[in-house]
């Protein structure tokens, strides 16, 4: 059974099929990543409001820029990996973790210990 499956894969999963499936995968993966970053930013915003700080503006603007240019990158960079496409979002996530992480953890601990 396993032999037959692998034999079929070996003969039919060609480079063209791989390239096409990579594009579909990147679309699904990127959309999950955008969804994740968007709600991480919202949580960070919530944390900032609780701490009496100003709302996040620049990171949201950057985020929406990345959302808009992502389809263009997907179409014009067929060989690009997911990491290359999502570098901007990773940067936003790391910056958010550094800048709001400490306050977020303190609030979390406050909730659990209350």
């Amino acid at each position: 059974m396993m032999d037959k499956i692998l034999l079929w894969i070996g003969q039919n999963f060609t480079s063209d099929v791989f390239r096409l499936s990579t594009m579909v995968q990147e679309i699904l993966w990127s959309s999950a990543e955008f969804f994740l970053v968007l709600f991480c930013l919202r949580i960070a915003n919530w944390v900032r409001i609780r701490r009496g700080k100003r709302r996040i503006v620049v990171r949201y603007m950057l985020f929406w820029c990345f959302v808009l240019i992502n389809p263009y990158l997907l179409l014009t960079m067929p060989g690009a990996t997911h990491d290359q496409l999502m570098l901007g979002n990773f940067t936003i996530l790391i910056y958010t973790a550094i800048s709001e992480g400490r306050d977020g953890i303190a609030i979390l601990k406050g909730i659990v210990d209350a």
Partner: protein, 205 residues
């Protein structure tokens, strides 16, 4: 033959990043939320540390040994390099999957606290989590070995071309890709649910 320097660097930096996320989530869950002391997690840190050092050794010092050891099929040297790369991809799926388990537990703890449910800090022990992690990683790597062992077996048995073997190898990457998407969406949904939970609580207060 051998993995290019930038690929090695990427493999290692990605593994470092993912391990960092795992250690952070574990620290958040056990040390901060469940008040279990860090020294109770010595075995976990020892396991991660040893594993990491071994990976660095294989990647920078032992790639050729690894490839020579597996290079028993004549012209299939490239496949050994490919196997090593797939090993790292499998490792990332494993670490991210474990991260989802921890994130889910943290979400449930916070939710339980916010809705006023019974909060028992001893419901899950570190041993329990270590066991789940070990079983999950075991399944993932058993599949990795099973798939590639069978791929080579089929390649030899039916006299396929290297192109056919390459197709099978690429298909494995696609399987991992699907798992990555599932994991990424799972984390995204947990973050979304956490946001909704926090917002509702904030509005209520």
């Amino acid at each position: 033959m051998g993995i290019p320097f930038d690929t090695k660097f990427m493999a290692l930096s990605w593994t470092t990043g993912e391990l960092f996320c795992l250690v952070f989530l574990r620290w958040l869950l056990f040390d901060l939320l469940l008040n279990k002391r860090l020294r109770q997690q010595t075995a976990f840190f020892l396991f991660c540390g040893t594993g990491y050092v071994l990976l660095v050794c294989i990647l920078y010092g032992g790639t050729d040994i690894f490839c020579r050891w597996l290079d028993i099929y004549g012209s299939l040297g490239w496949f050994c390099t490919s196997l090593l790369w797939k090993f790292f991809v499998t490792l990332w799926v494993g670490i991210e999957g474990v991260c989802v388990l921890y994130a889910l537990r943290i979400y449930h703890l916070v939710k339980l606290r916010l809705i006023g449910g019974k909060f028992d800090k001893n419901t899950r022990t570190t041993t329990h989590y270590a066991l789940v992690t070990a079983i999950f990683l075991l399944i993932i790597f058993a599949f990795y070995s099973f798939y590639h062992f069978n791929a080579i077996h089929v390649f030899q048995k039916y006299g396929l071309t290297t192109s056919n073997l390459n197709n099978m190898s690429k298909f494995y990457l696609r399987i991992c890709g699907v798992l990555f998407i599932i994991i990424e969406w799972a984390i995204a949904v947990i973050v979304f649910k956490s946001y909704v939970l926090l917002k509702r609580t904030h509005e209520r207060n």
